[in-house]
Structures are given as structure tokens and as C-alpha cells.
Amino acid sequence: MNREDFPMLEEDIIYLDNGATSLKPKCVIDKTVEYYSKYSANAHRGDYDISYKVDQEYEGTREKVAEFLNADSEEIVFTSGATDSLNMIATGFFAPLIEAGDEILITTSEHASNVLPWFRLQNEKGAIVKYIPLDSNYHVTLDNVKKMVTPNTKIIAIAEITNVIGDVRPIKEICKFAHENNIFVVVDGAQSVPHKKVDVKDLDCDFLAFSAHKMYGPTGLGILYGKKELLENLNPINLGGGMNESFDSPSEILLKDIPTRLEAGTPNIASVIAFGSAIDYLNKIGMDKINERELYLRKYLIDKLIKIPYIDIINLEADSGIVSFNVEGIFSQDVAFYLNKYKVCVRAGNHCAKILKNATKVTNSLRVSLAFYNTESEIDTLVELLSNKDKIVKEML
């Protein structure tokens, strides 16, 4: 659906790598061009009309994002991406707080960006990273979270939807249990916010990180949501222009309030402004409708893939548009090269989830990640191409 909104879909490709980055609707591209051609000035410097316009647009996006997540606009910080947001949370908020022996719970299916910042707290602060065990479908259950919690547990940091398994974690239940035990919950929303309704008040998570480019928005922009009282205590990693009120000497520095305090330097103005259009666009279609469509497409794909005897589906059960699989006996990358010859774009590899192999015993795989604009006929083409193993072997070189 809505294919006509995406200029990239006029290209002769079948794009099935939406988990890596999504395509952009024309309204987002147009908004970027509008900024650069109509009011290309800096933000927070409203001394003349076009600069005032930039401020309005920039802060307007913040309000849209806040509304989209059911947050307050002070709780929305613009970053360079989910990775940046997660690092700011780990280093800016938790590093000063965490003590040797404190435990951080993650899972083996997290993306590198939600693993390495926590490893750093282990290496530098003596915290201990532990893994919530995955069930037989590689899902996270509240029971398994409960089993891993000890009096030393301080943080649970997990994706709402992971990028290889695509399972939806019971974040709301985990937050409730965690908060009863004085544990903070950090949610990596990189794969969930673009594909389903996320309400931070309903979930009651403490922090949420995601990227604009995976949700039909521009590259180079991420969001860090934090509860207001927590953001107040997040140390800015970057100091500089735009975030200070005044300074005279090293001992006399007055910083601005959140969220501006956490956005030092000239921000990614064009992307922030264009992201406002992405949010409008998603609201117009409706996140529930998007989610419904993507789950339908997943089922459509699974029902066909499952009939191919030499295809091993890794995540048969998952309520997202992510399907990971292997063609028996053929290296995933070779299959991806073969598909590329037919202009089908899928990802092969470990998908930045390098410790997941401990659980799945699969070191690499092919990943199809669907978006609402994908079609049954695109899936038919993919399945058709995968239906002839001899052809794959013959043409993979």
C-alpha cells in the first residue's frame, strides 16, 4: 500500500531490507529540499524571519515526536541515531551512577549498539552484564527476566523488537516488575517505533532510543526519550554552543535546561525538520494499520517459505516484519548475491547481533525485513527465486 508515495519504488528493485533503513516518502524528501531552498538558516538564533521559521519547524518536530510517543516535548532529545542515544544513556546517565558489582541485564539477541555501551560499563566500572535466557523461540519472557533479577540488578536494557529474531518483548510487564524492584528499563526501539504504536507512558519505560532513518525519515537523526526527572540527571557528553546559558570561567558555567542542554552544537536541522513530515505521514496512515499490514505480509511470506524443504526459518514465531532464514548448505552471502542479480535486496550476515549465535547456533543468515509498502507480488518473486536450489547454486557466483 501507499507505494506511490515512495520515489525509490519507481526504481527497478525489490527492497526487502527495511530493518537496515527504510525508504523515504516524497513528503520527507520535499521537506528537506524546502529547508535548504526556502529557509536555510541556523536554529536557536531567531533574530530574523527565516531563522525564526527554522526554530518553529525544529521545535515543531519535537512536539510531533512527543505526541507520537505520548511523551512531553522536554523529554525528547535529538541525537545522531539510536546508537548515539544508547551511548548517551549508558555513559551520560548510568556511568556516574553504577557501582562495581551492579548487574545489567541484556539478551544475546541485542544489536551491537545495545551491547557494547553496557560492556563498557563492565570494563570501566566493574558492572556485570548478564543475559536474560531466551526461550525455545528465542523470545524473552517475563518469567525469564524474573529469574535473572537479583538484588544487584540495576538496569534492564533490551530492544522492544530485535533485528534478527523480530520478537516483540513484553516491555510493559517488564517495566512494571523492574520498577517494583528499583531497576531502570532502557528500551531500544530502533525496530519497533517504526512499525507499531509505542506509548512511553503506557509502557512506563525509563529511556527509549530509536533512529529516524528506519522510520521513513532522514539519516543522521535519532531520538532519545527519557523520563524528565532522569534526563535532568543525564550528563551532557558534548559541551559547547547552544547548550550553555553563560560561562565566565571553568567554575562558572551555567547550562540550559533539558532537552537543549543535551544538544550541543548545530544540530542536524534539515533532518529534524524533515522528520516532522515523516511523523505526519505515519500518523496519516496510522501505526495500527501499518502494523497490521506488515504482520499480514509476514504471514504471507512464511506460509510460502515454509513449503520449501531446504529453507530453515530461524524465527518462525515473531510479531514483526522480520524473517530470518538460511538455504541449507549455501552460505547466506552467496544467496544474497544471487538474489541481487534479480534486483532483490536482502541482508546477509550476523546483522550486528554477534552474540546471538550462542543461542541459535547459527552464525549468519539471510534477513528479509518488510515494510507496509512491500507487496504480495514482491514476495512471490522472492519465493520463486528461492524455490529452485539448483538455480541458486548455478547463479550464485
Partner: protein, 144 residues
Amino acid sequence: MDPEIKREIIMEHYQNPLHRHHVDDKSYDMVNTANSSCIDNLNIYIKYDGDVIKDIAFEGEACAISISSTSIMIENLIGKTREEALNIIDNFENMINEKEYSEDVLGNAVVYSDIYKQNSRKSCAFLPYRGLREALTKKDNGKS
């Protein structure tokens, strides 16, 4: 060379690679070679006899192009001197980058002469050569 023959040679070396096994012998040097853009990841083991490469083996996971290229490279390099080996590596690199190269030193590796047409595959074919060059130019490799 006929494309069909090229294909057959590549497939043969992919399905039945030569010298693919673990080495637990301290008289071998080991070098890891991996493509950051993909998941190819190989360990290559080299044993010298004075200036001559006496044996090479490899293990690891990689795509059909990387595996076959490694097998073909090993077949070609065993028995060569360091200098000859480095010359072969240079020529192979030139070939996949569409520069001038001498075909006669490359042996079966000429099956990759068209690989430049698939940009993403170039680094796969070159992967073992990159590792071997690193091993050969390491300054403390004067073992015998």
C-alpha cells in the same frame, strides 16, 4: 577461458577446497583475514622452509568466492618463494582491479578475471591474498 569452465573450477574449489583444516602446529604462522563489510572470516596458516612457502592451510567461514579463491591461491603458492608469492598477490590484485597483470603467474586464479564486474565480490576474491600479503610482509616471519 570459457565462462562455463571458470564456473566449474570455482565450484570445484568451493565444494572441495584444498588444504581446509585446522592447524595446531607451532611451526606455522597464523593470520586472520576478514571482510568488514560482510561475514567472510578465515584463518590462514603458513609454514616456511627458509625463504620458501612449504605449506599453507586455512579454516573458517566464508562465501563461495572467498573459499574457492583461498583454495586456488594455496594450490598456486605452495613451493613459491616469498618474493614470488608477493608478485603473484600483486598480479592478482591488478587483475581484479582491471589493471595490467601477467596471466602466467596466476595459474587457476585467472578464473576471477571477470570479478570486477561484480563490485561487491572483489573483496571476497581478494580476501585470502590480503591475509597472505600481511603474513608475508610481517617483519618477524623469518622462521624456518
